[in-house]
Protein backbone atom coordinates (compact mmCIF):
# COMPACT_ATOMS: atom_id res chain seq x y z
CA UNK A 1 0.00 0.00 0.00
CA UNK A 2 1.24 3.46 -0.89
CA UNK A 3 1.35 5.59 2.22
CA UNK A 4 3.26 8.63 1.13
CA UNK A 5 1.26 11.83 1.41
CA UNK A 6 -0.90 12.21 -1.63
CA UNK A 7 -0.88 15.37 -3.66
CA UNK A 8 -4.68 15.38 -3.79
CA UNK A 9 -6.70 13.68 -6.47
CA UNK A 10 -7.68 10.05 -5.97
CA UNK A 11 -8.38 8.85 -2.46
CA UNK A 12 -9.19 5.30 -1.53
CA UNK A 13 -9.72 4.96 2.20
CA UNK A 14 -7.48 7.50 3.89
CA UNK A 15 -8.13 5.93 7.29
CA UNK A 16 -6.70 2.64 6.07
CA UNK A 17 -3.64 4.45 4.78
CA UNK A 18 -2.97 6.33 8.00
CA UNK A 19 -3.39 3.12 9.98
CA UNK A 20 -0.62 1.39 8.07
CA UNK A 21 2.59 0.84 10.11
CA UNK A 22 4.68 2.62 7.46
CA UNK A 23 2.61 5.73 7.97
CA UNK A 24 3.36 5.79 11.68
CA UNK A 25 7.05 5.43 10.88
CA UNK A 26 6.85 8.47 8.62
CA UNK A 27 5.09 10.45 11.33
CA UNK A 28 7.87 9.59 13.73
CA UNK A 29 10.68 10.18 11.27
CA UNK A 30 11.24 13.69 12.58
CA UNK A 31 11.93 16.97 10.79
CA UNK A 32 10.17 18.01 7.63
CA UNK A 33 9.11 14.50 6.76
CA UNK A 34 7.10 14.32 9.97
CA UNK A 35 5.61 17.75 9.45
CA UNK A 36 4.60 16.92 5.90
CA UNK A 37 3.10 13.61 6.91
CA UNK A 38 1.26 15.19 9.82
CA UNK A 39 -0.14 17.80 7.46
CA UNK A 40 -1.46 15.06 5.23
CA UNK A 41 -2.90 13.25 8.23
CA UNK A 42 -4.81 16.40 9.15
CA UNK A 43 -6.02 16.94 5.59
CA UNK A 44 -7.49 13.49 5.16
CA UNK A 45 -8.97 13.05 8.64
CA UNK A 46 -10.04 16.55 9.64
CA UNK A 47 -13.62 16.60 8.39
CA UNK A 48 -14.45 13.18 9.77
CA UNK A 49 -13.20 14.07 13.22
CA UNK A 50 -14.97 17.38 13.03
CA UNK A 51 -18.18 15.57 12.14
CA UNK A 52 -17.73 13.36 15.19
CA UNK A 53 -17.19 16.36 17.46
CA UNK A 54 -20.23 18.04 15.93
CA UNK A 55 -22.36 15.12 17.07
CA UNK A 56 -21.64 15.94 20.68
CA UNK A 57 -21.11 19.67 20.74
CA UNK A 58 -23.72 22.05 19.51
CA UNK A 59 -21.29 24.67 18.34
CA UNK A 60 -19.05 24.32 15.33
CA UNK A 61 -16.61 26.74 16.95
CA UNK A 62 -16.20 24.41 19.94
CA UNK A 63 -16.01 21.40 17.68
CA UNK A 64 -13.19 22.97 15.74
CA UNK A 65 -11.35 23.82 18.94
CA UNK A 66 -11.55 20.29 20.34
CA UNK A 67 -10.39 18.86 17.02
CA UNK A 68 -7.41 21.22 16.99
CA UNK A 69 -6.61 20.29 20.58
CA UNK A 70 -6.87 16.63 19.63
CA UNK A 71 -4.28 17.07 16.85
CA UNK A 72 -1.95 18.77 19.31
CA UNK A 73 -2.42 15.87 21.73
CA UNK A 74 -1.72 13.40 18.93
CA UNK A 75 1.47 15.24 18.05
CA UNK A 76 2.55 15.29 21.67
CA UNK A 77 1.60 11.69 22.36
CA UNK A 78 2.95 10.13 19.16
CA UNK A 79 6.36 9.15 20.55
CA UNK A 80 4.58 7.15 23.24
CA UNK A 81 1.96 5.68 20.92
CA UNK A 82 2.90 2.06 20.52
CA UNK A 83 0.58 1.19 17.69
CA UNK A 84 -1.32 -1.37 19.76
CA UNK A 85 -4.54 0.03 18.38
CA UNK A 86 -5.24 1.75 15.10
CA UNK A 87 -3.96 5.30 14.93
CA UNK A 88 -7.45 6.57 14.09
CA UNK A 89 -8.99 4.67 17.03
CA UNK A 90 -6.48 6.31 19.33
CA UNK A 91 -7.30 9.68 17.76
CA UNK A 92 -11.01 9.10 18.35
CA UNK A 93 -10.23 8.29 21.95
CA UNK A 94 -8.22 11.52 22.40
CA UNK A 95 -11.00 13.47 20.73
CA UNK A 96 -13.59 11.83 22.95
CA UNK A 97 -11.65 13.03 26.00
CA UNK A 98 -11.39 16.55 24.63
CA UNK A 99 -15.14 16.55 23.99
CA UNK A 100 -15.83 15.34 27.54
CA UNK A 101 -13.56 18.09 28.90
CA UNK A 102 -15.37 20.66 26.81
CA UNK A 103 -18.80 19.48 27.97
CA UNK A 104 -17.63 19.42 31.59
CA UNK A 105 -16.24 22.92 31.21
CA UNK A 106 -19.52 24.11 29.78
CA UNK A 107 -21.41 22.49 32.63
CA UNK A 108 -19.17 24.26 35.13
CA UNK A 109 -19.66 27.66 33.61
CA UNK A 110 -23.36 26.97 33.28
CA UNK A 111 -23.59 26.25 36.97
CA UNK A 112 -21.69 29.43 37.71
CA UNK A 113 -23.99 31.55 35.65
CA UNK A 114 -27.39 29.96 36.06
CA UNK A 115 -29.12 33.27 35.71
CA UNK A 116 -27.66 33.91 32.29
CA UNK A 117 -28.39 30.40 31.09
CA UNK A 118 -30.75 31.37 28.35
CA UNK A 119 -28.58 34.14 27.04
CA UNK A 120 -25.70 31.70 26.79
CA UNK A 121 -27.73 29.18 24.86
CA UNK A 122 -28.75 31.73 22.30
CA UNK A 123 -25.13 32.79 21.85
CA UNK A 124 -24.10 29.20 21.28
CA UNK A 125 -26.56 28.76 18.50
CA UNK A 126 -25.57 32.05 16.94
CA UNK A 127 -21.88 31.19 16.81
CA UNK A 128 -22.52 28.72 14.03
CA UNK A 129 -22.59 30.18 10.61
CA UNK A 130 -22.55 26.69 9.17
CA UNK A 131 -25.80 24.74 8.84
CA UNK A 132 -26.75 22.50 11.75
CA UNK A 133 -26.47 18.74 11.40
CA UNK A 134 -30.19 18.57 10.82
CA UNK A 135 -29.57 20.35 7.56
CA UNK A 136 -28.55 17.06 6.03
CA UNK A 137 -31.89 17.38 4.35
CA UNK A 138 -31.90 17.56 0.62
CA UNK A 139 -32.47 20.65 -1.47
CA UNK A 140 -36.06 21.22 -2.49
CA UNK A 141 -35.69 19.63 -5.88
CA UNK A 142 -34.79 16.21 -4.50
CA UNK A 143 -37.29 13.47 -3.95
CA UNK A 144 -39.39 14.74 -1.11
CA UNK A 145 -40.45 11.63 0.76
CA UNK A 146 -36.96 10.21 0.89
CA UNK A 147 -35.57 13.55 1.87
CA UNK A 148 -38.08 13.92 4.64
CA UNK A 149 -37.22 10.49 6.04
CA UNK A 150 -33.53 11.34 5.90
CA UNK A 151 -34.24 14.57 7.69
CA UNK A 152 -36.24 12.81 10.35
CA UNK A 153 -33.48 10.30 10.99
CA UNK A 154 -30.91 13.05 11.04
CA UNK A 155 -32.98 15.02 13.53
CA UNK A 156 -33.40 11.89 15.59
CA UNK A 157 -29.63 11.39 15.70
CA UNK A 158 -29.16 14.95 16.89
CA UNK A 159 -31.67 14.33 19.66
CA UNK A 160 -29.89 11.24 21.01
CA UNK A 161 -28.25 11.35 24.44
CA UNK A 162 -24.55 12.11 24.01
CA UNK A 163 -23.28 8.64 24.92
CA UNK A 164 -25.61 6.90 22.49
CA UNK A 165 -24.86 9.49 19.82
CA UNK A 166 -21.12 8.95 20.06
CA UNK A 167 -21.48 5.19 19.86
CA UNK A 168 -23.89 5.49 16.96
CA UNK A 169 -21.57 7.80 15.08
CA UNK A 170 -18.52 5.58 15.48
CA UNK A 171 -20.32 2.30 14.78
CA UNK A 172 -22.97 3.06 12.20
CA UNK A 173 -21.69 6.22 10.55
CA UNK A 174 -17.94 5.62 10.68
CA UNK A 175 -18.12 1.85 10.62
CA UNK A 176 -15.74 1.15 13.51
CA UNK A 177 -15.95 -2.34 14.97
CA UNK A 178 -17.51 -2.81 18.38
CA UNK A 179 -14.09 -3.30 19.94
CA UNK A 180 -12.63 -0.22 18.27
CA UNK A 181 -15.54 1.94 19.38
CA UNK A 182 -15.23 0.54 22.89
CA UNK A 183 -11.57 1.43 22.99
CA UNK A 184 -12.11 4.91 21.59
CA UNK A 185 -14.86 5.73 24.07
CA UNK A 186 -13.48 3.89 27.07
CA UNK A 187 -16.47 1.56 27.28
CA UNK A 188 -16.86 -2.18 27.40
CA UNK A 189 -17.86 -3.90 24.17
CA UNK A 190 -21.11 -4.98 25.83
CA UNK A 191 -21.85 -1.39 26.74
CA UNK A 192 -21.21 -0.30 23.16
CA UNK A 193 -23.67 -2.89 21.96
CA UNK A 194 -26.30 -1.73 24.45
CA UNK A 195 -25.79 1.93 23.57
CA UNK A 196 -25.93 1.23 19.87
CA UNK A 197 -29.18 -0.71 20.13
CA UNK A 198 -30.56 2.03 22.34
CA UNK A 199 -29.53 4.68 19.81
CA UNK A 200 -31.16 2.86 16.91
CA UNK A 201 -34.34 2.26 18.89
CA UNK A 202 -34.54 5.89 19.92
CA UNK A 203 -34.01 6.92 16.30
CA UNK A 204 -36.76 4.62 15.08
CA UNK A 205 -39.15 5.82 17.77
CA UNK A 206 -38.35 9.45 17.03
CA UNK A 207 -38.96 8.89 13.31
CA UNK A 208 -42.19 7.01 13.92
CA UNK A 209 -43.48 9.75 16.16
CA UNK A 210 -42.55 12.33 13.58
CA UNK A 211 -44.24 10.33 10.80
CA UNK A 212 -47.38 9.99 12.90
CA UNK A 213 -47.53 13.72 13.54
CA UNK A 214 -47.23 14.25 9.77
CA UNK A 215 -50.46 12.42 9.04
CA UNK A 216 -52.63 13.95 11.75
CA UNK A 217 -54.95 16.25 9.78
CA UNK A 218 -54.57 19.88 10.60
CA UNK A 219 -51.25 19.41 12.32
CA UNK A 220 -48.37 21.31 10.82
CA UNK A 221 -45.92 19.09 8.98
CA UNK A 222 -42.27 19.57 8.37
Amino acid sequence: METKPLQGGERSDPFAEVNAPEFLARLLAGGRESQRTFGWLVKVTHDRFLAFARRSLSSLEESREVVQEMYLAVHKGLPKFEGKSKLTTWMYSLLHHKICDCIAEKERSREEMVESHEAQLSTETNVDSWQPLTAWDAPADRVLVRASLETKISEAVSALPVAAREVYHLRDVEGLSGDEAAEALGLSSANVRVQLHRARRLIVEHVQESLRSDVIPGKATR
Binding site: D47, A156, R200, I203
Partner: protein, 87 residues
Protein backbone atom coordinates in the same frame (compact mmCIF):
# COMPACT_ATOMS: atom_id res chain seq x y z
CA UNK B 1 -51.57 -7.47 14.93
CA UNK B 2 -53.42 -10.74 15.31
CA UNK B 3 -53.81 -12.33 18.73
CA UNK B 4 -52.32 -15.54 17.40
CA UNK B 5 -48.94 -14.00 16.80
CA UNK B 6 -49.07 -11.95 19.94
CA UNK B 7 -49.25 -15.19 21.88
CA UNK B 8 -45.78 -16.08 20.75
CA UNK B 9 -43.42 -13.12 20.83
CA UNK B 10 -44.82 -9.77 21.89
CA UNK B 11 -43.85 -6.80 19.70
CA UNK B 12 -41.46 -5.46 22.34
CA UNK B 13 -39.48 -8.67 22.40
CA UNK B 14 -39.22 -8.75 18.63
CA UNK B 15 -37.94 -5.19 18.64
CA UNK B 16 -35.40 -6.08 21.30
CA UNK B 17 -34.10 -8.73 18.93
CA UNK B 18 -33.61 -6.26 16.08
CA UNK B 19 -29.91 -5.85 16.83
CA UNK B 20 -29.16 -9.57 16.80
CA UNK B 21 -31.36 -10.05 13.77
CA UNK B 22 -29.28 -7.56 11.77
CA UNK B 23 -26.10 -9.20 12.99
CA UNK B 24 -27.45 -12.55 11.85
CA UNK B 25 -27.11 -13.81 15.39
CA UNK B 26 -30.60 -15.04 16.17
CA UNK B 27 -30.65 -18.69 17.10
CA UNK B 28 -32.70 -21.12 15.05
CA UNK B 29 -35.79 -21.17 17.25
CA UNK B 30 -35.62 -17.48 18.10
CA UNK B 31 -35.18 -16.67 14.42
CA UNK B 32 -38.17 -18.81 13.55
CA UNK B 33 -40.41 -17.10 16.11
CA UNK B 34 -39.04 -13.71 15.18
CA UNK B 35 -39.84 -14.16 11.51
CA UNK B 36 -43.22 -15.67 12.22
CA UNK B 37 -44.10 -12.63 14.30
CA UNK B 38 -42.86 -10.32 11.56
CA UNK B 39 -45.00 -12.00 8.93
CA UNK B 40 -48.09 -11.30 10.94
CA UNK B 41 -47.28 -7.86 12.31
CA UNK B 42 -47.12 -4.86 10.02
CA UNK B 43 -46.07 -2.55 12.85
CA UNK B 44 -42.99 -4.62 13.54
CA UNK B 45 -42.23 -4.92 9.82
CA UNK B 46 -42.21 -1.15 9.66
CA UNK B 47 -40.16 -0.98 12.83
CA UNK B 48 -37.50 -3.35 11.55
CA UNK B 49 -37.38 -1.52 8.24
CA UNK B 50 -36.65 1.76 10.02
CA UNK B 51 -34.22 0.05 12.37
CA UNK B 52 -32.32 -1.26 9.37
CA UNK B 53 -32.21 2.23 7.88
CA UNK B 54 -30.99 3.70 11.16
CA UNK B 55 -28.26 1.07 11.27
CA UNK B 56 -26.97 1.92 7.82
CA UNK B 57 -27.02 5.69 7.46
CA UNK B 58 -24.44 5.60 4.66
CA UNK B 59 -27.18 4.38 2.34
CA UNK B 60 -29.29 7.45 2.66
CA UNK B 61 -27.49 10.32 4.31
CA UNK B 62 -25.16 12.72 2.69
CA UNK B 63 -23.42 15.21 4.85
CA UNK B 64 -22.87 18.76 3.83
CA UNK B 65 -19.23 19.19 2.93
CA UNK B 66 -17.55 21.45 5.43
CA UNK B 67 -16.30 24.73 4.07
CA UNK B 68 -12.58 24.36 3.35
CA UNK B 69 -11.70 27.29 5.60
CA UNK B 70 -12.22 25.05 8.62
CA UNK B 71 -9.46 22.75 7.52
CA UNK B 72 -7.30 25.74 6.57
CA UNK B 73 -7.86 27.23 10.02
CA UNK B 74 -6.76 24.00 11.70
CA UNK B 75 -3.69 23.71 9.47
CA UNK B 76 -2.76 27.30 10.28
CA UNK B 77 -3.28 26.63 14.00
CA UNK B 78 -0.93 23.62 13.80
CA UNK B 79 1.57 25.42 11.61
CA UNK B 80 1.92 28.18 14.20
CA UNK B 81 2.82 25.48 16.70
CA UNK B 82 5.35 23.80 14.46
CA UNK B 83 3.30 20.64 14.06
CA UNK B 84 2.88 20.87 10.31
CA UNK B 85 5.05 22.54 7.72
CA UNK B 86 4.30 24.90 4.87
CA UNK B 87 3.38 22.33 2.25
Amino acid sequence: MSLFYALYYPCDKVRDFAYDYLEGKLGLLTGFRFKRHLRGCEECQEYIKLYRMAADPSKFTFENPLPSEFLDHTLQFLKERGVVGDG
